[in-house]
Symmetry: C2
């Protein structure tokens, strides 16, 4: 495109599009989501690219070229249209396999300190990119997150001012491939990430279905359209962890997926639902035991993630007696916006 | 081979080989082992074929032809040499996917009743084959075994006469792809299979290493020849289940395999050993909890299986305070021999 024509198009875009205030990137292992955010943090435009940190298109030589190319694809035109827009990115982009490694910040940590701890890198075009650090919990079994800290901040933003509910702890649940459960202590002066746990439930479920004998029974023809039976199988699985037999733990109870198939209790689709409920049930039961042992009780559970998965978790949480459960949408873009505010990247809100 | 020559060879075999008393087949999912047993149950000859129930060579039409062909390969010549020899088979050969389905017998059951409950089928050559039934434990989480009941009987045989230790319970452990733990109640009159549990530890370990992010870290170069470091990593993993953090359960603790890699505590080989110890530790800890809840204490633990795996389990059992631990060899052929005796298949012993 000749420069004159390009200029014309830019002018036309500027007159028809609301002003871009922030470009926010959610750059994970398998995908890259780019948000163009407006004056109040509202999403003006969203792009989803299959350019996760572990799935970048192959490039010759410099291993950073893949990141540069993906960045250009994601928001190059947005930046040419609005060159002074700040850019913030969260997720695996800041890992050892990412564009630039950003050291973890240590838990417990006040949420405000995360916003004050962004790192920066410059793209080949000179664009400054602010990268959100992940969190680490150093203990006998260390724990890490990258990206979820941003969603947690987005969730907390929906709760309003800190002074609104001092002393009430909040449990933020992020179900997915690796579920995270984040305990937030709320005081009059700050929100603190106090503790978090990881459960590999989603990835274990996929590995068991795809690569063990449990998946073989699931291939048997079942009445797939019978959602009532599927729901009952899920509930049956979810209850296992709270029974005496559930004390045997996941390595043992999962085998019942197969034996309930062998004995004709569950069809193929039922076995799949049962295993899903069984694993989530073990996760929630363990979470409950740990909270009890720590003398903590979450006044409120906030869930973030894919809607149908959040509904599964909400159901099991209710089964295990958790009270107030809320599903929060748009946590990532809210969190990136809040972090940009904390870091002073936004001139006005 | 012309008949005359065949006859000559048979004669020569008869004069040089000890008399075959029993042909015993251990016919599992992935392999078939055929034992030619002598006058006192000693192994005269052993053949291992890759002809498990799920790995039979493809055949046209009749789905039983694969079993017939494998049977011929395994012991056709033995039977032509000694045509009146009884044949007994245990394992998945009696499952729904096997040569002929043999219904499970229900636990609790006296060991002698298993030997009285063999089924029979006839091969296309008219050979009678006695098939050992598997065991089922009907409960909310049903449990099944096929083949392990035979190994348990072999183990009990090494304990000598029932009257030797009445009232002392024995715990038989069969570590492997699916570990089984079998509680035997010993009274003056009988050995009873009272209860058993299954742990999918071996298969879960393989699925986690091969098909989750945990395997990725294991590929990192480590000092593979440092057996001391490997042993320490295994022990570190084995201890996890008995700590406060271990209360989070397997779905959560396995993630530490990755984080101990990320934080530089474990190299690639160390992560693999750590995960092995961690899973076995969770298995033994759960077993201990269940025995305690049932008010039982095993006077003796007998292990059957691959030698190095039994050594891993013995080590973790000691860590968790189990006392007398013994590894038993040749349990399968001993068990098949005992079952043939119980069933009256052997004219004299």
């Amino acid at each position: 495109m000749p420069p004159a024509q390009h200029q014309t198009q830019l002018m036309s875009q500027l007159t028809t599009q609301p002003k871009t205030q922030l470009i926010a990137l959610d750059w994970g292992t398998s995908s890259l989501r780019a948000y163009r955010l407006g004056a109040h943090g509202e999403t003006l435009e969203l792009r989803a690219l299959p350019c996760g940190v572990m799935q970048l298109p192959a490039t010759d030589g410099d291993d950073k070229t893949g990141f540069e190319n993906a960045f250009e694809q994601a928001c190059g035109d947005w930046l040419r249209t609005a060159p002074d827009t700040p850019v913030i990115a969260a997720g695996m982009v800041g890992s050892r396999q990412g564009w630039q490694e950003v050291p973890y910040l240590e838990v417990p940590i006040a949420v405000d300190h995360i916003g004050a701890g962004l790192s920066t890198l410059r793209s080949r075009d000179g664009q400054l990119i602010h990268i959100v650090p992940g969190l680490i919990q150093n203990s006998m079994l260390p724990n890490v997150m990258r990206g979820e800290e941003t969603q947690v901040i987005g969730v907390l933003n929906t709760l309003g001012a800190v002074s609104g509910a001092p002393g009430q702890d909040v449990l933020v649940g992020l179900p997915g491939t690796h579920s995270k459960w984040v305990q937030i202590h709320r005081s009059k002066t700050q929100n603190q990430v106090a503790h978090f746990d990881t459960f590999m439930t989603g990835e274990v479920y996929a590995a068991l279905c795809g690569h063990t004998i449990l998946g073989r029974g699931m291939q048997a023809a079942g009445n797939e359209s019978d959602t009532g039976a599927a729901q009952r199988a899920f509930e049956r699985g979810a209850l296992v962890a709270q029974t005496a037999a559930g004390q045997a733990g996941v390595l043992s109870t999962i085998f019942s997926t197969r034996t309930l198939g062998l004995t004709g209790v569950l069809d193929g689709a039922g076995q799949s639902e049962y295993l899903s409920g069984l694993l989530i049930g073990h996760e929630i039961a363990a979470l409950q035991t740990m909270l009890r042992d720590q003398g903590r009780q979450a006044a409120q559970v906030m869930l973030v993630g894919e809607a149908s998965l959040c509904e599964r978790y909400a159901q099991v949480l209710r089964t295990y007696g958790f009270g107030k459960i809320e599903v929060v949408a748009q946590a990532t873009q809210r969190g990136l916006w809040q972090l940009a505010l904390m870091a002073g990247l936004l001139k006005h809100t």
